[in-house]
Symmetry: C2
Subunit: 443 residues, 2 copies
């Protein structure tokens, strides 16, 4: 009996039209990464379970896809595990950050620090699939590892700006905050021990509004006087006011100083088309960030962030290497795709990957076409000969669906005259010419 | 306690120098695929177990990496499966051929046939790791699906030739045979029921020699008179003799006709640098091939085939779609890498992905450098500013290790003069110039 052709839930096939668009996004990101001096690395899809577990919190651990070991007992397609035999010690990667940290520690003697690496790979999460959330998805990360200079933050913001400008996505907002400012705020609120709860609630401000945020904080034990401090703090709009408010907190002041350095320099340099905005509520969960926090939104499409990142001071310490500061950003390719699709940002000719199709009128004609096709290809023109001599209508429909630019017809007449009949598929006009004329016309 | 940084056996990290070389190979393959009218698709890394099992033989099934389901019972990082609960219904893909067949059947109503697709992805096999054999490796496949014209075979041979020519790999031999010729031979030997045994033994001829092949066949029950026919057959060197020998077999004659058509046309068209050779012993295992069989070798490096493929008539029938003929080829990226490395085929400047590094002499100097760096990048030149003001020696060593072409020094003097000091890292010469002079020099 035949197997039913289907894929597991949360997985996707990418057909050519989608692939062309994804590749267009990826090559823009890649070229900017490389222009800014980042080098590619790749780590395996499969890591040891030890490497991954305990790095993403309990909920994260649960979403890791585990890989079954090969049982020593295997018969007729059935594996039997003996008592005490380990059934799984490997898993699929959940993100690129932890594998990168593992890579850096493992290869620390060969790596040239500061290590500017980028990494573009699939990751897998056993999440409940829903619109826009998949169990296999692509991550694009760039990080500067082993240096604490804020020049890296400036560079990463420029990268965001340049990529989105290149992709012609309008109304991009790059939000920035600093973890230390949040620490300063919590100090002012006199609620240090509730830091995580406060940050998690604050992160929801845009979605649920101030009243609900305050309610949530109250439930977690934040006092009324603390909430008053918070409310006052949230009304701050410029950095100088922030500075005076946080002057009593060393950590807070340091955060403001860092933020100011980055914003001042970006303002002085100018961005191509994005806008950099300080956003005091930006926290990006209770992630591993310790300094700058960055998040990118497109203001017309309601889809959440299309990129994010920040500075982390302790990423490699879980693998035993301390005092390595890093800062990185990530591009959310699936969401960028959706934004570009909705806003019609993809170039019109993106599906036009084949310029020329030669019609196949029969065995003699097709053999006659082969050297002509070879010549066209030698001129760097993407082209093909329809493989069999199907009805002309079928061949033309194929050319149409593949968005071919020109169809070349070489039948008996053309074989004897040495000229070819060229149909422009866009306007439907036909013209006869020599092969050389045709080639120079296209080039 | 810190986790030890290591990866599972058979897995690999790719560092920047390897990535540059791999990307060089992949982009050559990709550009030729697209020039010949092939479109990219991508299928998920994870397929349903039903889709994969039973397609690769018993040994193949055993090498499939199975993925553990999420148990309904999960506590403190431990999963417990209840009696009767399925522990695995998904697996990692083992090759790209079966997923492609599944994709074609599932999307048959949207696909434009003949479907010329290429696919470049990782696959996984729980094979015993050894030199040159990994548990995660990259496959590059191109197939023409839904058409039985031999023009596709011609095109695929041209693709091999063009890719290896582009990669400047010398002494490439493209071997060709036809499954129907092997069927004809077995008919002549009067040993039809031993077809698989005979083909498997014959496939080893180059490695173990004729006597051992005959011995193996004899053990499997091939008679002495059959072996005489075989020996006589193996001495055939040209196609016309093959034709007369196989004239009594319909299948064999059809195979010779197909082979002749392909070889004649390739000879007439000419290849750039590869050589096409008929090889009567080529069988590529007892694979799913039904017509042409193709295999590529490089004659100086002993590593086996660096590519292979053939025609298959029944690939989609396991998923319920009959009468779809296909033909495809595959590039063995890991082996091509080894060959190119041994023969020094990689371009000399392949590691030189950063053209310019600006030295960081301190905070004032680095801020002064930012607009200059921006201008250099706006001219499309890959460049970076060393992020912190480390010792000059450390910065120069970084530039050296990253193969930077030019190092730009802007200290106090340069800040006041408006000129910059440029060091050519290849010959060690230094020269002062304006920024515009420098930019036009590089471009």
């Amino acid at each position: 009996m035949a197997t039913r052709a289907s894929i597991p839930k949360g997985m996707r096939d990418f057909s050519p039209p989608v692939m062309f668009r994804r590749n267009y996004i990826l090559s823009a990101v890649k070229s900017v990464f490389e222009k800014y001096g980042f080098s590619p690395i790749q780590t395996p899809a499969i890591e040891k379970k030890d490497t991954l577990t305990g790095k993403y919190g309990g909920e994260g651990d649960r979403l890791i896809f585990n890989i079954l070991n090969s049982a020593t007992d295997y018969k007729d397609g059935k594996m039997t595990f003996k008592q005490g035999e380990s059934i799984s010690d490997k898993a699929l990667i959940y993100d690129l950050t932890v594998p990168c940290a593992r890579y850096v520690v493992q290869n620390r003697n060969d790596i040239v620090f500061p290590f500017k690496r980028y990494q573009m790979q699939n990751v897998w999460r056993a999440d409940k699939p829903q619109k826009g959330r998949y169990r296999e998805f692509f991550q694009c990360d760039a990080d500067v590892i082993g240096d604490n200079s804020l020049l890296s933050e400036i560079e990463l913001i420029q990268i965001y700006d340049e990529v989105f400008d290149k992709l012609k996505i309008p109304n991009i907002e790059i939000c920035i905050n600093n973890r230390k400012i949040l620490s300063g705020l919590v100090e002012l609120m006199d609620a240090k021990e509730l830091f995580n709860d406060i940050v998690i609630a604050l992160d929801k401000l845009e979605n649920i509004g101030l009243n609900k945020v305050k309610e949530e904080m109250k439930e977690k034990g934040v006092s009324d006087s603390s909430l008053l401090v918070l409310e006052n703090f949230l009304s701050i709009t410029d950095i100088s006011e922030l500075k005076s408010q946080l002057s009593s907190s060393d950590t807070g002041s340091k955060g403001v100083e860092e933020l100011e350095f980055i914003c001042d320099n970006i303002n002085r340099l100018g961005l191509k088309s994005s806008e950099l905005k300080f956003n005091i509520t930006l926290a990006r969960g209770i992630d591993y960030y310790t300094g700058s926090i960055i998040e990118v939104k497109q203001n017309n499409v309601k889809i959440g962030s299309i990129g994010g990142g920040g500075r982390y001071d302790n990423l490699t310490s879980v693998f035993g290497l301390n005092d390595v500061s890093g800062v990185g950003i990530s591009f959310g390719i699936d969401r960028i795709y959706i934004v570009m699709d909705e806003l019609n940002c993809f170039p019109e000719d993106i599906d036009q990957n084949i310029q020329v199709m030669l019609v196949n009128f029969g065995e003699q004609e097709s053999i006659f076409c082969l050297p002509i096709l070879k010549k066209i290809r030698e001129n760097g023109i993407s082209s093909e000969l329809y493989p069999s001599s199907s009805k002309l209508k079928k061949q033309m429909s194929y050319a149409n669906k593949k968005n071919v630019e020109f169809v070349v017809m070489i039948g008996e007449d053309e074989m004897s005259s040495g000229r070819i009949l060229v149909r422009n598929m866009e306007d439907g006009t036909q013209k006869d010419m020599t092969i050389n004329e045709f080639i120079s016309k296209i080039k």
